[in-house]
C-alpha cells in the first residue's frame, strides 16, 4: 500500500517536473561555471510556421512532438553563461565527405536591447526594428576555410599536388590542420531571412558535448555588448535541431521567449508576468472566431487554410509565441512582419509587400474592429495550438 502511494507520488512529481517553468533564475557567481546554474524545464515545439522544399526533411519532421529541454544561467558583472540540456537518441554529425548528413545543433537568441515585454522581437529571429542576436553551435566533423588561400596547394587534392611519399603525407597533414571541429557562430538578425554573421564578436565561447543520450551545450557571452543587453528579466529563446531528422534552418524545435530573472526587482516580476501571460479569454469561443476570421489564410491545427503558403501556419503558435505578440499581430500585423518564403518560391502567396523605400506592409489586414474580449478569446485559442509532449 505504502509502496503504491510512493510510486504515485513519484509519478506526480515526474509530471510536475516536466511542466515548463515560467522563468529561469540567473545565479550570480564570481566565476562562471556550468555546474552552478539552476536548471529549469523549457519546452520546445516543432517550428511549423513556414515549411521548406526538402521532401525527405519535411517527411522526417511530420507529426513531431514537443521537445523538453532544461536551461539555466549563471552570470557575473561582465559575462553570462547559458547551459542547455536535452535528450537526443542519436549523436548526429555533419561529415566532411557527405552531402546528406546534418549535425545536431542548438542556438540561443536574445533581443538586441531591453524592449517592452509585450513588444518583443518576432520569435523567428526578430523583425524590422526589433533586432536579435543569436548564438549557434552545430555538431560537425570538420570545417575548412572558404577562401582560396594564396597557397593553393593547401587546398588541392593529392592527385593534383605532384607530391609523393613523405612530402605528400606532410602536405596532407598541413591541410588537415586548417580544419576546425567547431561550428560556433554569432549572428544578428531582423527576421529570419536577414540573419548576418558577426565576424568580430568578442568574448563569446561555446561548446557542446554528448553523453548518455543527452546533449549539454554551454554558451558564454558578454553581459552587455553591441549585440545584446542584460535586462531585469532578459528574454531568451532556444532552438534545437536534430541532425537525424535533417534538421537545419526552420526544421527545428523552438521555445517561446523565456525570461531569465537577472534582478529581484518589481520590473523583473512585471516583465516575467507579461512575457509568460496566459490569456484569460474563452478558447472555445476563440476557436469559433478564428475559424470565421483567420482560417481563410491561416492553417491552425485541424483548421486547414484553403491554400498552402498563403500565410504563417499557426499549428504550433501557442508553443512559441507570447500572448503579447499574438495580440499585437492581430491588431497591427505590420508591427512584426514574418519574413515568409522567398518571393520567387510562392509568388501567389506573398506575406508582405515592399515599397520603394524598403518598408514592408503585411498582406494581413488589421483585425482592430474585433472587441477586446474577442481578441482575448482568439489569443486564448491560439495559445492552445501546440504539439503534445512525447
Amino acid at each position: 500500500m505504502n509502496k503504491t502511494v510512493k510510486l504515485l507520488t513519484l509519478t506526480a512529481m515526474a509530471s510536475i517536473s516536466l511542466a515548463a517553468a515560467d522563468f529561469i533564475t540567473a545565479v550570480k557567481a564570481d566565476k562562471l561555471n556550468a555546474a552552478k546554474v539552476k536548471l529549469e524545464n523549457v519546452m520546445l515545439y516543432p517550428q511549423t510556421t513556414i515549411g521548406n522544399n526538402d521532401k525527405e526533411a519535411t517527411e522526417k519532421m511530420k507529426g513531431a512532438k514537443a521537445l523538453p529541454a532544461k536551461a539555466g544561467v549563471v552570470f557575473n558583472d561582465k559575462e553570462m553563461m547559458v547551459v542547455v540540456k536535452w535528450k537526443d537518441a542519436t549523436n548526429s554529425k555533419q561529415k566532411e565527405a557527405s552531402t546528406k548528413l546534418f549535425g545536431d545543433a542548438v542556438a540561443v537568441q536574445f533581443p538586441a536591447s531591453c524592449m517592452e515585454a509585450d513588444k518583443l522581437p518576432y520569435i523567428g529571429m526578430g523583425s524590422d526594428g526589433r533586432q536579435v542576436s543569436i548564438l549557434l553551435q552545430k555538431n560537425v566533423e570538420a570545417v575548412y576555410p572558404v577562401a582560396e588561400n594564396a597557397d593553393v596547394t593547401m587546398q588541392q587534392v593529392r592527385q593534383n599536388l605532384n607530391m609523393f611519399g613523405d612530402e605528400l603525407k606532410k602536405k596532407e597533414a598541413a591541410q588537415k590542420a586548417l580544419a576546425s571541429s567547431k561550428y560556433n557562430k554569432v549572428f544578428v538578425a531582423e527576421g529570419f531571412r536577414s540573419m548576418t554573421e558577426v565576424k568580430d564578436a568578442k568574448g563569446y565561447e561555446m561548446s557542446m558535448s554528448y553523453k548518455g543520450g543527452e546533449w549539454t551545450a554551454v554558451f558564454k557571452k558578454p553581459l552587455n555588448d553591441d549585440y545584446s543587453k542584460s535586462c531585469d528579466a532578459t528574454p531568451m529563446a532556444i532552438a534545437i535541431w536534430d541532425g537525424a531528422k535533417d534538421g537545419r534552418n526552420g526544421n527545428k524545435w523552438l521555445s517561446s521567449w523565456t525570461p531569465i530573472q537577472m534582478k529581484d526587482s518589481p520590473k523583473a516580476k512585471a516583465d516575467i508576468a507579461k512575457i509568460t501571460e496566459k490569456s484569460k479569454g474563452n478558447a472555445a469561443n476563440g476557436k469559433k472566431l478564428a475559424s470565421e476570421n483567420c482560417a481563410a489564410c491561416h492553417t491552425m491545427g485541424d483548421i486547414k487554410a484553403p491554400m498552402a503558403y498563403m500565410a504563417p501556419d499557426l499549428s504550433n503558435i501557442g508553443g512559441y509565441a507570447t500572448a503579447g505578440y499574438l495580440k499585437e499581430s492581430i491588431l497591427n500585423p505590420n508591427a512584426a512582419i514574418v519574413p515568409g518564403y522567398n518571393k520567387n518560391a510562392h509568388p501567389s502567396g506573398v506575406w508582405y509587400n515592399v515599397d520603394d523605400k524598403g518598408t514592408r506592409t503585411s498582406t494581413m489586414p488589421a483585425f482592430d474592429y474585433l472587441k477586446p474580449n474577442e481578441i482575448d478569446d482568439i489569443v486564448a485559442f491560439l495559445q492552445t495550438l501546440k504539439a503534445g509532449v512525447k
Binding site: 522544399n53 566532411e96 533586432q131 522567398n342
Partner: protein
C-alpha cells in the same frame, strides 16, 4: 520571368548535340579550373552524360525541384555523394613498385557518366544514344535561388549569371532540392553550396567559359541573348533550333541545345537499314526539349536541303562553327564600364556585415 530576379542582360550558351563526341574535355577543363580542391573534388560543375541513362547526379530528372504551373516551388531531394554523385577514388600507384596488386582504394557504385559503361537496349535493332553536356543553366527564375531561406543566391543584373554569396550561405542545402537540374552542390568541407559560375572571371575579360574554349567538337556558342548579331541569338531566337533542357521545370534555363537531328537508322526484317527512319523515340526528345523539338529538327533538315540545292545556308554556316571569334561574342569593355559589384538580393543586412552592429536602444 520573376520581377524579383530579372537581370538587364542574359548570357547564354548553345550546345550542338549533333557534334558532341563525349570526350569529356570540357569536364576536365572545368575540373582543373574550379573543382579540383577544397571539398569540390566530388563535384562536376560541367558533366557530359549519356542519354538515355540515369545521368549525373543519378536520377536527377526525377529528383524534384523547379516550379509547378502556378509558380510554386516544388519539393525535391538531395543526392548523397556515394550513391548520387560518385565518390572520387584513387589507385595505389605508389605501392605498385613493391609488387602489390593494382587496385582502387574504393568500390564506387556511381560516378559521372556511369551510364556510358553500362549500356542497354536491343543491339543492333533499336539501341541508340547521344551525349548531353550539362552546366548550370543560369535560369531566369532559378529554383535554387527561390529555395534559399537566406537570400544567399543571386542573379547578376549585368549578365544574369547566378551565383552563391559565400558569406550568406549557411549550408542548408534547400537549393539542391530546389534545382531541377541538380546543378548546385553542397561542399561538405566548407559547409556551403557551390555551383558553376559561368567562368565569370574569364567572361569579364572577354574570354569564353573554360568548357566552351576547350571543346574539341566546337559545339558550344557563348554570347548575350539580346545580341542580334551573335550566333547565340540566331540559333535561339532567329532560327529557333536551340532549345532549353526540360523546359517544363519552369525555371527558364539559359543553356540551349540543338537537338540530335538524325539518330541511327532502324533495320528491317532482313537486317537492311530503313531509309528515313530514326531510332531515337520522338517522345524522348520531347521530354528533354519540349514540343518545339520537332520544328527545330525540321528547320535544320530543311536548311540542309537548301544548302544542298543552293550551297548557301546561314544556319549551317553557324553550326559548322568556323571561327571561335564568331562563336564567342563577349565584351570585356561592357564589364569594364558596368558596376560590377556582386550585390545580393536583399542588402538590408550589409550594415551588420564584418562590422560592429549598433543595437537600437
Amino acid at each position: 520571368m520573376s520581377a524579383n530576379v530579372a537581370s538587364k542582360r542574359q548570357l547564354a550558351m548553345v550546345m550542338d548535340l549533333n557534334k558532341c563526341i563525349g570526350c569529356q574535355t570540357c569536364t576536365v577543363a572545368c575540373k582543373t579550373q574550379w573543382t579540383n580542391r577544397n571539398g569540390r573534388d566530388y563535384m562536376y560543375w560541367n558533366n557530359v552524360e549519356t542519354f538515355p541513362g540515369a545521368g549525373y547526379p543519378k536520377n536527377w530528372r526525377t529528383s524534384g525541384g523547379g516550379f509547378d504551373n502556378e509558380g510554386n516551388l516544388k519539393e525535391g531531394v538531395i543526392p548523397e555523394i556515394e550513391t548520387g554523385y560518385g565518390t572520387p577514388w584513387d589507385f595505389n600507384h605508389e605501392d605498385l613498385a613493391k609488387g602489390v596488386e593494382f587496385k582502387a582504394n574504393a568500390a564506387p557504385i556511381w560516378g559521372p557518366n556511369w551510364d556510358e559503361d553500362q549500356g542497354a537496349g536491343n543491339f543492333p535493332s533499336d539501341n541508340y544514344f547521344f551525349y548531353i553536356p550539362r552546366i548550370c543553366n543560369h535560369c531566369d527564375n532559378p529554383g535554387c535561388l527561390a529555395a534559399c531561406p537566406r537570400d544567399a543566391i543571386f542573379k547578376r543584373s549585368q549578365d544574369g549569371v547566378v551565383l552563391v554569396d559565400q558569406e550568406r550561405c549557411q549550408g542548408y542545402r534547400f537549393c539542391i532540392a530546389g534545382c531541377p537540374y541538380k546543378k548546385i552542390y553542397f561542399n561538405p568541407k566548407i559547409s556551403k553550396s557551390e555551383k558553376c559560375i559561368f567562368c565569370f572571371p574569364r567572361i569579364e575579360r572577354g574570354l569564353p567559359t573554360a568548357c566552351a574554349q576547350q571543346c574539341v567538337g566546337r559545339i558550344r556558342f557563348v554570347g548575350f541573348l539580346d545580341d542580334e548579331e551573335g550566333q547565340v541569338y540566331k540559333l535561339v531566337k532567329k532560327y529557333k533550333v536551340a532549345l532549353p533542357l526540360i523546359p517544363q521545370a519552369n525555371t527558364g534555363p539559359n543553356v540551349y541545345y540543338v537537338p540530335p537531328v538524325a539518330g541511327p537508322l532502324k533495320f528491317d526484317a532482313n537486317g537492311k537499314p530503313i531509309p528515313g527512319s530514326d531510332r531515337i523515340p520522338p517522345e524522348q526528345l520531347e521530354a528533354l526539349f519540349g514540343k518545339e523539338v520537332h520544328a527545330a529538327i525540321k528547320t535544320i533538315k530543311d536548311e540542309m536541303e537548301i544548302r544542298k540545292a543552293t550551297g548557301k545556308s546561314e544556319l549551317l554556316d553557324i553550326l559548322i562553327a568556323y571561327k571561335h571569334s564568331d562563336m564567342f561574342r563577349l565584351d570585356a569593355g561592357y564589364y569594364a564600364h558596368h558596376n560590377n559589384s556582386l550585390k545580393p538580393v536583399d542588402h538590408r543586412y550589409n550594415a551588420g556585415k564584418f562590422t560592429s552592429f549598433k543595437a537600437v536602444h
